[in-house]
Symmetry: C2
Subunit: 257 residues, 2 copies
């Protein structure tokens, strides 16, 4: 039987405010067994960029990453946010190691081709070093992954944190029984977006299609769920979409085959 | 017989300009066998801090690191500079891993006590995880160390890169035959600071005392040499002070017992 690993993805807001970050790190430290944390940092990037006189341009919720913006996200995601988390977890007895995709070549990506939109220095994941990550994890090291990858030609690329979490979970599925927990600002996938208690506790692809057809599930939740079904199909044992206060993925929406 | 490891320290300027960084990475990639790179980044930190409206205060060549400055150096050293080097080395076939002292707890430090000067969030190195670094190195991973450490209580601390290089070399001496190469803007320790060809090719503590007494060696070169003698006494096999174009430490000043 494979050993268990929990991959937790947390969004920007929770890791960017001192009090909520402390609570998150307390919670994450209590997860038993092997674990991985994938973080965002978009709000800080937008703030620092603004202070540096760089305007943040978003298209479909994704950041247009020109050369100057790439420097900002490399600083903020790879430096400020990542190292705050690493130091905070070390203080809680978790042997954290901050990683971008460039470190030990753990995530190789390709610059997104220019179609209707030129996203700039944005990477689509090509390969995750599952063996390398697995070796670290089995040595009781806890990877803390920033939403940055590299193209193998010396370029860092800005990469969506949900995608990094999903692809990492899939790559680890060859080595571990993987639980993937997407934490965000809602309690899960909601039947009624104005009612935080209307969590859909379980969903499969058939139900998903029906919810989308009836406009109950829409917007950014669609790629999040597609990502989740994709992970399940690729061997991830369990995917949960839940609130940032539930890093263990006990509540929220459980995504099923 | 112990295997050899080369620990190279490079200053800020060379890693902060695209052309000189590319040359440095080319040179570093050619170093045979196990290796470690320790980098600075002060000029970029000063520049970014200025853009963010934070004034850089230096005392005795050391940066006064208040809370906002700490954020800047964490971004610049741990993110921008470190990850540019890591991605650039991966493109050259070097399996680089960027580290601050917080990552895997490799360098624990204590906040410098306030005496005549309050340096703020500046750390004095207490413990280097030589076993952990040694395990990485023997797995053919090349640590790229930013001048940041942590106190074990969740705080990142700004730490002098020369000190990190020296302490890392000393910690590795238990596992390897260590060569420590300090690269900087001069060709080595000079007899005449206006003559780049006046390199003192070899120096021991006795000669050092004489050079200091006769004012031939002065200023920032004194702690650099004291650091070097300290490393040699602690078991480091060879210390070289040389130019940034000589990362292998073939020329320059060889520091002897």
């Amino acid at each position: 039987m494979k050993e268990k690993v929990t991959v937790v993805k947390v969004g920007g807001k929770i890791v960017e405010e001192e009090a909520s970050l402390a609570k998150l790190l307390d919670d994450f430290a209590t997860i038993e067994g092997y674990k991985v944390l994938v973080h965002g940092g978009g709000r800080s990037a937008t703030k620092i960029a603004a202070l540096l006189g760089i305007e943040s341009q978003m298209v479909n919720g994704r950041r247009i990453t020109d050369k100057e913006t790439l420097k900002v996200v490399t600083m903020v995601y790879g430096g400020l946010v990542n190292k705050s988390i690493v130091a905070g977890l070390q203080a809680r007895g978790v042997n954290a190691l901050g990683l971008t995709g460039a470190d030990m070549d753990v995530i190789r990506s390709a610059k997104r081709p220019v179609k209707e939109v030129d996203y700039g220095y944005v990477g689509d994941v090509k390969k995750v070093g599952g063996d390398c990550l697995s070796t670290l994890i089995q040595a009781n090291i806890v990877p803390i992954m920033a939403p940055l990858t590299h193209d193998g030609n010396g370029n860092i690329l800005n990469t969506n944190a949900d995608t990094i979490a999903g692809e990492t979970a899939k790559a680890l599925a060859a080595h571990f029984d993987v639980k993937l927990v997407f934490c965000f600002e809602k309690n899960g996938v909601l039947r009624d977006e104005n009612d935080d208690d209307s969590v859909i506790s379980s969903i499969n692809p058939e139900e998903f299609k029906q919810y989308v057809a009836s406009n109950i599930i829409q917007g950014g939740m669609i790629p999040k769920l597609e990502n989740s079904f994709d992970a399940i199909s690729a061997g991830v044992g369990e995917v949960v979409i839940t609130s940032s206060t539930d890093v263990c993925g006990l509540g929220g929406t459980h995504v099923r085959k």
